[in-house]
């Protein structure tokens, strides 16, 4: 191999030019589709653990299951529940028995028939299969088959989120012949709009589905082929979307800019809130946190709007309340309950007797390093020291349960009111690690539980209580940056980072 000086110079120039075009950015990946597409390729953030419906999860991990499995109830994009495999459902007067009428014209992909026995088999299986969402059926003590198309779910206590759960993991119906077998772990057997193409599916790479012939509800089956491409890495998802390998995927504010440059459309949606969880509200381990004035002072210390602009490029909404906008528990008046007021924060600390300072310890949560740095700075301005401790590891849920952290910065799901209460407020909630409560709060929580249709409205009282008592220092609701190309249309789904499978359609 002989390289002359000219060739070497040319090579240098070429590589420099390549490097410069790389810096220039501005990709040109968008190409308008000529004909209506029949395929949908989605970039998913996580690989499915097991296709057993009892192992299904929430939000973006629920989506792939919806291709193979129908659920008892269908959740519309705005959160309303509508019939699916169950055509009607009704509670008894005490909200302790839910009766479901079922369809009779549905079969599973292995030929088994869907009926009351099949529904019972699924719910029983879900209760015993120890899946990640098994808590969804905690309140259900047993399922009774009334007749071929009717079942009853008997509850120990009222559970205002049960109907919602029947549109989620707990409601997914698999073939009774396949439940509990090894095979269903790798190949789903449901009654859903699509069936897995096992030959084209590669573990950890892609799951391919084709439209099922004679599916009972053609309205929910809009594509001939649906592929879930596993792209755990954010850079990979961005590249795949911009280069046209996937039609839609979840990005973040920064990579979203690149996608916008490539003419991708944003279907934004607020699903999580992030901020401080002031967990030691009785001051068991950190005395100042037991004082409501100190907790309120922390809330007044933050210039939420500026933090949002700087850290998340403005992709979100500043807020003082931990309950989500579509949850029913949200109220306008709590939105800016704690405005940026450092003088008031100092005043409150003085009144609480902590003029000389307060020290908080938080674990370093991966991904929130920038937020923690800003929070530390703004707290320091009012006289509160924030010590950022060691990084969270995979033992963090047990560490929280073991009351290792008195305070932490985290991002949390804003679900239905009863779901949120059980996640962050009730004495059973993991994120109420110190099990704080008062008779006043407990009464409000009980009212939600037995409130039936009024549960959402009643949860406003719980929301008001935790905001006034400054249980948290919420910063903002975060925009989920879900992008798609022009070949498909996408309707966001409330409380889900990625839409349900039914919310996609071919464009044109």
């Amino acid at each position: 191999m002989k390289l002359g000086p000219k060739a070497a110079a040319a090579a240098l120039i070429v590589s420099a030019a390549l490097a410069l075009t790389a810096c220039g950015g501005g990709a040109t990946g968008a190409n308008p589709a000529a004909a209506k597409t029949t395929t949908l390729t989605l970039g998913t953030v996580q690989e499915i653990r097991s296709w057993d419906p009892a192992q299904a999860h929430v939000g973006h991990i629920l989506q792939p299951y919806q291709a193979a499995y129908d659920s008892l109830l269908l959740r519309q994009p705005d959160g309303k529940l509508s019939p699916m495999l169950a055509t009607a459902w009704k509670y008894n007067d005490t909200n302790t028995k839910l009766t479901l009428d079922l369809r009779t014209d549905v079969t599973f992909s292995d030929g088994a028939k869907f009926d009351a026995e099949a529904a019972k088999a699924n719910l029983d299986h879900f209760k015993t299969a120890n899946g990640p969402q098994m808590a969804q059926l905690t309140a259900v003590t047993g399922v009774t088959v009334v007749d071929a198309d009717t079942i009853e779910l008997n509850l120990t206590t009222p559970d205002p989120s049960l109907e919602f759960y029947l549109s989620q993991a707990a409601g997914l119906m698999g073939s009774p012949k396949a439940l509990g077998t090894e095979a269903i772990k790798t190949e789903p057997v449901g009654s859903g709009p699509y069936v897995m193409d096992k030959a084209a599916t590669v573990k950890d790479s892609q799951s391919v589905f084709t439209a099922r012939k004679d599916y009972w509800n053609k309205d929910l089956q809009k594509f001939q082929k649906v592929t879930f491409k596993t792209l755990t890495d954010l850079t990979a998802r961005t590249n795949a979307l911009v280069s046209g390998q996937v039609d839609a995927t979840l990005l973040d504010p920064k990579t979203g800019k690149q996608a916008e440059g490539a003419k991708m459309t944003l279907a934004a949606n607020q699903v999580d809130w992030q901020g401080l969880l002031l967990m030691d509200r009785d001051g068991a381990k950190n005395a100042p946190l037991g004082n409501v004035k100190v907790r309120q002072a922390i809330n007044y210390a933050f210039d939420r709007k500026t933090i949002l602009e700087q850290v998340l490029l403005g992709q979100g909404t500043p807020t003082s309340q931990p309950f989500g906008k579509e949850s029913g528990a949200w109220t306008e008046e709590l939105e800016n309950y704690y405005s940026y007021d450092p003088a008031k924060a100092k005043q409150l600390l003085k009144e609480a007797g902590y003029e000389t300072g307060v020290t908080l310890e938080v674990p370093s949560v991966p991904g929130f390093e920038t937020q923690l740095a800003v929070v530390k700075q703004q707290l320091a301005d009012v006289g509160i020291t924030l010590n950022v401790g060691s990084a969270l590891t995979n033992t963090f849920t047990s560490d929280i349960a073991a009351q290792k952290f008195t305070t932490m910065y985290f991002s949390l799901f804003q679900g239905e009111p009863w779901v949120a209460i059980n996640q962050i407020v009730s004495t059973k909630a993991l994120y109420n690690a110190f099990k704080n409560t008062t008779p006043e709060l407990q009464a409000k929580i009980d009212a939600v539980q037995t409130g039936g249709k009024d549960a959402g409205k009643l949860a406003q009282e719980v929301n008001k209580y935790v905001v006034e008592q400054a249980w948290f220092a919420p910063m903002f609701r975060v925009n989920q940056m879900y992008y798609h190309n022009s070949k498909v249309t996408v309707t966001p789904q409330i409380q889900q980072a990625v839409p349900s499978i039914y919310n996609y359609a071919p464009a044109f």
Partner: protein, 313 residues
């Protein structure tokens, strides 16, 4: 030769055993919340206890290790705690993807680095300077950065290659090749620049030795001197560098597989480690250590074959 191989294999087994004990102990420390990680935030203490018993987490560490070791010796590496996928299956589907990339990259690195290294050592002058500068640049840019630059230009802007993997059964071989090209180039650049530099030094050192002058004075052709004698003497240094490159590459490949969404060992190792999925982590670690041991053994054998003195020492 046979006692030498047996001795090396014996020490390999000891290393494997030591690493397995160490890894198992480290995983034990962080396995406290496995059951909760599997069952989610809302699991009750009773449900957690059932899961822990099911996974054997209620047993003392010694019992757990011995049971893992016994199974492993019988060829059973267990199943993932999170997906129930047998570890042996998981490894069998992912090793080919990773090894294809690593082996192709290694073959190319060996050829290209040797050619460039020898050219720099023999020609010196500007060729040498370009190689030296290239080595510094190549060494200082991490492989994944090169990968991202390649994707941006060649895949996204020019559309010559897929931006992420299109590896799937039934897809024709050209799609395979296209999918693997960019990650292999990203692996190559670091390897070639580093390797060429080392081979260059080794060849120069040999060229300055007395025996080269003697051979030349006897009128033996320059080409024969270089390829028959110098390269053979410089080979051990080159092989050592290449084996280190290969071992280092097993780390670099993890990030590249994520960026290019290749279903290889990397993403599995990362996920399993984050989740403390003990059977999978143990499987990945044992496999990696075994590769390192085998590579070292092969390098030693090649060195012995090239240079009989090594066998005696």
């Amino acid at each position: 030769m046979i006692p030498f191989i047996l001795k090396r294999l014996g020490s390999g087994v000891v290393v494997l055993l030591a690493v397995s004990i160490l890894t198992f102990s480290l995983l034990y420390v962080s396995s406290g919340s496995i059951a909760r990680n599997i069952l989610g935030d809302q699991a009750t203490p009773e449900q957690l206890a059932v899961k822990e018993a099911e996974l054997g987490l209620d047993q003392p560490i010694i019992t757990r290790y011995i049971s893992w070791l016994t199974d492993a010796l019988g060829g059973n590496l267990g199943a993932s705690w999170f997906t129930s996928e047998p570890v042996a299956n998981a490894l069998a589907t992912r090793i080919p993807v990773t090894m294809t990339m690593v082996v192709v990259a290694m073959i190319l690195i060996s050829i290209i680095a040797t050619l460039i290294g020898v050219a720099a050592a023999v020609k010196r002058g500007w060729v040498d300077r370009v190689v030296q500068i290239g080595a510094i640049i190549g060494d200082s840019i991490p492989g994944f950065v090169i990968g991202i630059i390649l994707v941006t230009i060649l895949a996204i802007q020019m559309g010559l290659f897929p931006a992420t993997s299109t590896i799937a059964p039934g897809v024709d071989a050209s799609a395979w090749v296209l999918s693997l090209t960019l990650p292999v180039i990203a692996l190559l650049i670091n390897g070639v620049t580093g390797g060429a530099q080392q081979i260059r030094s080794a060849v120069i050192k040999q060229l300055e030795r007395d025996y080269v002058r003697t051979l030349r004075s006897r009128g033996i052709g320059e080409r024969e001197v270089l390829f028959k004698h110098v390269l053979r003497s410089a080979a051990p240094a080159g092989l050592t560098v290449l084996s280190l490159q290969l071992i280092g590459m097993l780390g670099g490949v993890v990030i590249l597989e994520s960026i290019f969404a290749l279903p290889g060992m990397g993403p599995m190792a990362v996920t399993a480690t984050i989740q403390s999925d003990q059977p999978v982590v143990m499987g990945v670690v044992m496999y990696t250590v075994a590769v390192v041991i085998v590579v070292n053994l092969i390098v030693d054998l090649l060195n012995g074959w090239l240079n009989p003195k090594v066998r005696v020492s």
